[in-house]
Symmetry: C2
DNA sequence: GTTAGCACTCAACTCATTTGATTGCTAACG
DNA sequence: CGTTAGCAATCAAATGAGTTGAGTGCTAAC
């Protein structure tokens, strides 16, 4: 990226930014005369035209048709976003602490966040629940709701609760279930799925005694539950209807596509997973800020034509990592969304749960 | 309703049905010539015109403007739907058993159902989880995940699991929690919220001894959880994007409205509650079939302009009652949807859970 | 390197016209 | 008296010619 800095002289940069900024506001192709008036450069429209024609050649902007103004290309957007990121890194984020600090139920917090995000930005917003494979297990409880059945309850950090009813392998009575519960907690409490070593497993199995079958069943279920939760996180969304605010997305096909992505959470899950797997250092111009911007067909949003995606990773502490993001038209207010998202990220990173205060 | 039967002579009935049927297919106003050809009555368009003009006077159809064809009014739809219901009652439903009979997890079943319903009908579909106040409690388990905290797990019929972490009133240790658990199960297991009498409560409180505060806490939480679940059921949806198939709904305002109703489940919950509270005998022409049809502004859908709602109540046994429904344009294929819904209802009414088979 | 000037382009708008589906009415028919 | 053919009247929607206006590219002069 550094090599490219010199491709554009200062004046071209000013003009390009002015074009994109204006386009973000109006959604209409931008003409030379507009820029001549708004850029602050005191140049005539003719001169601007010459520069614009250069910018077209370099691929930063295009003309929808001969006698129309110019519209940014993906390359243009990319440039714009990258330059915003650089500026923001300089003047650090002054996170205004505007939201609740202590929340009992994680789910509440996330719903609250995503709703705020959508209504603040007027785009569609989503937030994923925390990664289940890196979150620590607080407590595991087995129980016998009916003969031959084992009820397994798994409490994770942040009081996220997972549970499942299993069909027992060996006969198991209430007291035995309690003994096994204590034994399992001794080994597993405080660990995340990733921290369970083979040694721990063997230790557990040795102590399982006659209940080996059931213990294996439970361990498998725990693993399955957490692994499955990894590719199948809870996802909360808000503001899907904001799609209709933007004419370029409200054409029937695209809108239907977006809406169904928001309804069936599967595709959002894929998206979150892809975003997670791309390292922070990666293409999306994250730098130190931890905000990623995917424009147009880039990366995870290649199926969402004419959309851009802005995401942030949050970490609530104790390995509870998740993703929060905004989906909008390519012509979105990148600057504002990035700021809001940075704010949210800071909020979440500093959130503490009342239940943890003991 | 019986009085009205004679308002329309046989020929008018045939013509009216033909008009509505054609309108359902095409979505375009229907002209006299079309009916003259399609009705099978061998009448000229002029005669049809005379009859149509009568039907307009009687309020079954209207003209969007002079020189346009005719379009059914809500009264027209109502007539059409009622006559379908009568015919169907006669030739009983021959429920083709096309779906799974045994499903472990209720949530899976419901998701499966709603997805099928949406893709089969091409409308938007929704299904509510079972009523929590009439579902029986199978098993209640208390536990102490951390000092000063009580983890309450409530297993309902169908292995629906609810849970909550409470802040303890009195000190409570693991063994005490177990004792209380056994005591509570003795009293509550097998009952639904509605079946808990004051006597049961007093009996429990007497036996609570030193743990009175915590027991009260737990009982309140159970009540709160189940009552809250009543107005706040799980709702699964599918096929929201089908809205775009129908031009009359895909105008921006209406679509945005519908979409946000489907995203934020609150309004669907209200809808389900309203549907539930209207008795089966009520206005929506249910008769014996247990299918309700709400046309246009009728009842629960008064906010969803130009939409109709068709619902069925299901009962999985042991008080697990819920609602399944389809939302589409007024011009929807009532006949088909009602049949599909009847089928689903039958499936659900007969579904049995493997976990119950012991 | 910058600018004024001008011919040219083309989507978008306007407005009159045409088209075609459909009605209501009337007079004739059986 | 119900039915029908015929016809003028209506009106949304499609068509198309003409106008507008934003914007460009090019050239010649500053």
């Amino acid at each position: 990226m550094e090599i490219m800095v010199n491709e554009l002289d200062e004046r071209k940069v000013v003009i390009l930014k002015a074009i994109i900024k204006n386009y973000l506001e109006t959604g209409e192709p931008v003409g030379s005369r507009t820029i001549s008036k708004l850029s602050g450069l005191n140049l005539s429209s003719a001169t601007i035209r010459n520069e614009m024609s250069d910018l077209v050649e370099m691929g930063y902007i295009v003309q929808p048709h001969t006698s129309a103004g110019r519209v940014p290309t993906d390359k243009g957007y990319r440039f714009y976003v990258d330059s915003i990121i650089q500026e923001n890194d300089r003047r650090m984020s002054e996170a205004t602490s505007l939201m609740v600090q202590r929340v009992d139920k994680l789910e509440m917090l996330l719903k609250q966040m995503v709703r705020f995000l959508a209504s603040d930005t007027n785009y569609a917003a989503l937030i994923s629940g925390p990664s289940t494979s890196t979150t620590k297990m607080k407590y595991l409880q087995l129980s016998v709701p009916a003969p031959g059945q084992i009820l397994m309850i798994l409490v994770l950090e942040g009081n996220v609760i997972k549970n499942e009813v299993l069909e027992a392998i060996e006969e198991i009575d209430y007291d035995t279930a309690m003994q096994v519960t204590v034994m399992l907690n001794n080994h597993l409490s405080g660990l995340s799925l990733r921290e369970i070593t083979p040694k721990i497993i063997t230790d557990i199995m040795v102590q399982a005694g006659k209940q080996q079958g059931n213990v294996k069943l439970v361990l498998d279920a725990v693993t399955e539950l957490l692994e499955h939760g990894e590719t199948n996180r809870d996802i909360f969304t808000s503001g899907a209807k904001n799609i209709f605010r933007y004419p370029e997305l409200s054409d029937v096909d695209k809108a239907a596509d977006l809406i169904s992505a928001f309804e069936e959470k599967d595709r959002l899950n894929e998206l979150v997973n892809e975003v997670t797997s791309l390292t922070v250092a990666d293409g999306a111009g994250a730098s130190g800020s931890g905000i990623q911007v995917y424009i147009g067909g880039e990366g995870p949003v290649k199926n969402l034509r004419d959309c851009s995606l802005i995401t942030a990773h949050y970490e609530l502490g104790d390995g509870m990592k998740g993703v929060i993001g905004v989906i909008g038209p390519k012509r979105m207010d990148y600057e504002k969304v990035m700021q809001t998202l940075q704010n949210m990220k800071d909020q979440l990173d500093n959130a503490r749960f009342t239940a943890d205060d003991n």
